[in-house]
Symmetry: none
Subunit: 193 residues, 4 copies
DNA sequence: TATGAATGAGAATTCATTCAT
DNA sequence: GATGAATGAATTCTCATTCAT
């Protein structure tokens, strides 16, 4: 059973997360002070330090949490569908994430600029569902003689490509908006796999 | 003739650039104070504000300057060589930049995290040599029926891909070091064009 | 019961008020830096911003406080006396304030140059005693058919007159010192009421 | 004959005056830097110091100039008219100034808050026309046995009264707007003389 | 006279962190 | 665990004034 005290702790921590997310998104990270976070969260300044080391600690945890969540959602959704080919499956997965970020531009901004592979590797260890991305990809290549490492690297390259092109087109509309870029991006990915 | 005063101004401005670059690279942007910059540059604090609005102003100008410079160098070097094919030419150009950043990791870190396409578009307008990248690419496609815009977008995609993969492998060794990644990156580019 | 913390806060705030007053009076407002205030008050610089927005915030509050205090003192003293006529009562009240400022020239200087009617209206709302001035005046006019508004305006005119003449004669000895000006000022007021 | 050099000097000085006036009026004195003034005037920073000691030097001269000018205008206009009585004449004179400031609120603000009697006495010495105010007043009292000094003081009192009431009603609409205050102000002045 | 780049002291303000309650 | 007043170093930025040209 979770005690009342325990629940209260969780609530405080969560309100800190929620406040920090809101502020990082809207004001930017540099412009957000711990003071702002605790005020918005409705807790005392000292309380922040009971849960987090500093601003970058809560930022990292936030990024990790949000990005894992989105990836997981995309995986779950992809698994629910049936596809004719691996290509179709992969593009559906990527498209799902792109559509998500189209609706959540600010979150994309926050995540993309601050998601380091260091954080991501942690997620890879801790969150089982993330492995599923790799598994899907590996299944797609199981008939080829490509060494396992090269498969991994190719996956990485595709994800980097999709990530950087999406970021640029969604956030900056450069070189064009995401809907114009998608066909070319998808064509390019098809060529790669 | 350039007057003594004019020469003196240039010197101050340049020493500010040099100092800021050194500090941004080694200490990081957040950790560098205007105070640090002027001290290193050997000018008075007020002098900084004579030339720049704030820290981010000098940063933007620095990024623009350094990245244009590198691109230009790569273009010039590529033009000096003779190639059998467009593919060979493009890869030489990309390789030149990758090799440059392999030797200047800190500069890559500074530029990649802070180069916005907004800055870059400015460079595209102001620095003639940058157009040359596009021209090279266009010549490569002159026999195809691809519309001009799609050529542009494809170039963009290739540069984004090369950029993000290089950054990740040079700076973070993820998913592997740059020398291991290069063959796969180049293969991928070949598939795309 | 007032907690220790609460008492401590009050002490800090008061020492800031006292220090600011001393400095504004003796050095002038422009010449007083926040630094001077906190040093004199014996608190940390940040503490100032815990209580006040900036220099003009503490100034306004100070002016409001001091002027309300003096007005209140004058009202209380006037109420203690018995007068033959309203004229006598009003002149006693005005004289009380003039005499006070004769002894506190610097305070007069500070208040007069910075007391805006905006601040004063706030005092009128918040400090009950201030209403008493108006009540006294109204009683003096209760037999006349003058509309209420005109009574108010006449009071205003008399206070403006007394204020500006006192300021000029006490601070600048213009056109003569206050003791020479008083008979004429009082004659003038008698003519008005 | 005025040399070209001489004319040029005057132009610079005048443009400094004009710029300072504009800025003092619109931004306030504290918020106006010498930098702002020279920029607006289109002269070099050093030039300012060839003509003025500091910000308060140009301010004083400006105030003196503007207020003398207005007084003079009022005097000239008053002299052009014929009046039935001295009372009528004085009120016309005061009304002229009030109407002027009704149209130039910002100038009133600047002048009233910064016109010290010290400056004004200087004007009294230097500008002949100003004596005319006193002369007009004295003529009004020439049949009385009032000593000269008391006449002067009464004039002073009336001007202070008119000044402070006008300022308050024009700038702050306190206790009412100037058009509502005028009848009472004029009645009061009538009672005084 | 006129210029305007350079100065650097100093003013305002922020903010992470501590710690007594 | 939770609080929030207090701290003061650090940072940004301003601006009057000088002086070589």
């Amino acid at each position: 059973m979770v005690s009342k005290v325990e629940r209260n702790k969780r609530e405080k921590e969560n309100s800190l997360y929620a406040a920090a997310y809101e502020l990082f998104i809207n004001k930017g990270i540099n412009e957000t002070a711990i003071n702002d976070i605790v005020k918005k969260a409705g807790v005392a300044k000292g309380t922040f330090y009971l849960y987090f080391k500093d601003k970058y600690d809560i930022l990292d945890k936030l990024i990790l949490d949000k990005s894992s969540q989105i990836l997981n959602e995309a995986i779950v959704e992809t698994r629910l569908k049936v596809f004719q080919s691996f290509e179709e499956e992969l593009l559906y997965f990527i498209d799902y994430i792109i559509e998500y970020f189209k609706e959540n531009k600010l979150m994309l901004k926050l995540i993309y600029k601050n998601l380091s592979w260091g954080i991501f590797k942690k997620a890879y260890r801790d969150y089982d569902e993330i492995h599923e991305i790799y598994n899907m990809f590996e299944r797609g290549y199981e008939d080829t003689s490509l060494p396992r490492e090269d498969i991994e690297k190719t996956l990485f390259i595709i994800l980097e490509l999709a990530g950087s092109v999406s970021y640029s087109s969604i956030i900056l509309n450069e070189p064009d908006n995401i809907d114009e870029m998608k066909p070319i991006l998808f064509d390019t990915i098809k060529k790669i796999i």
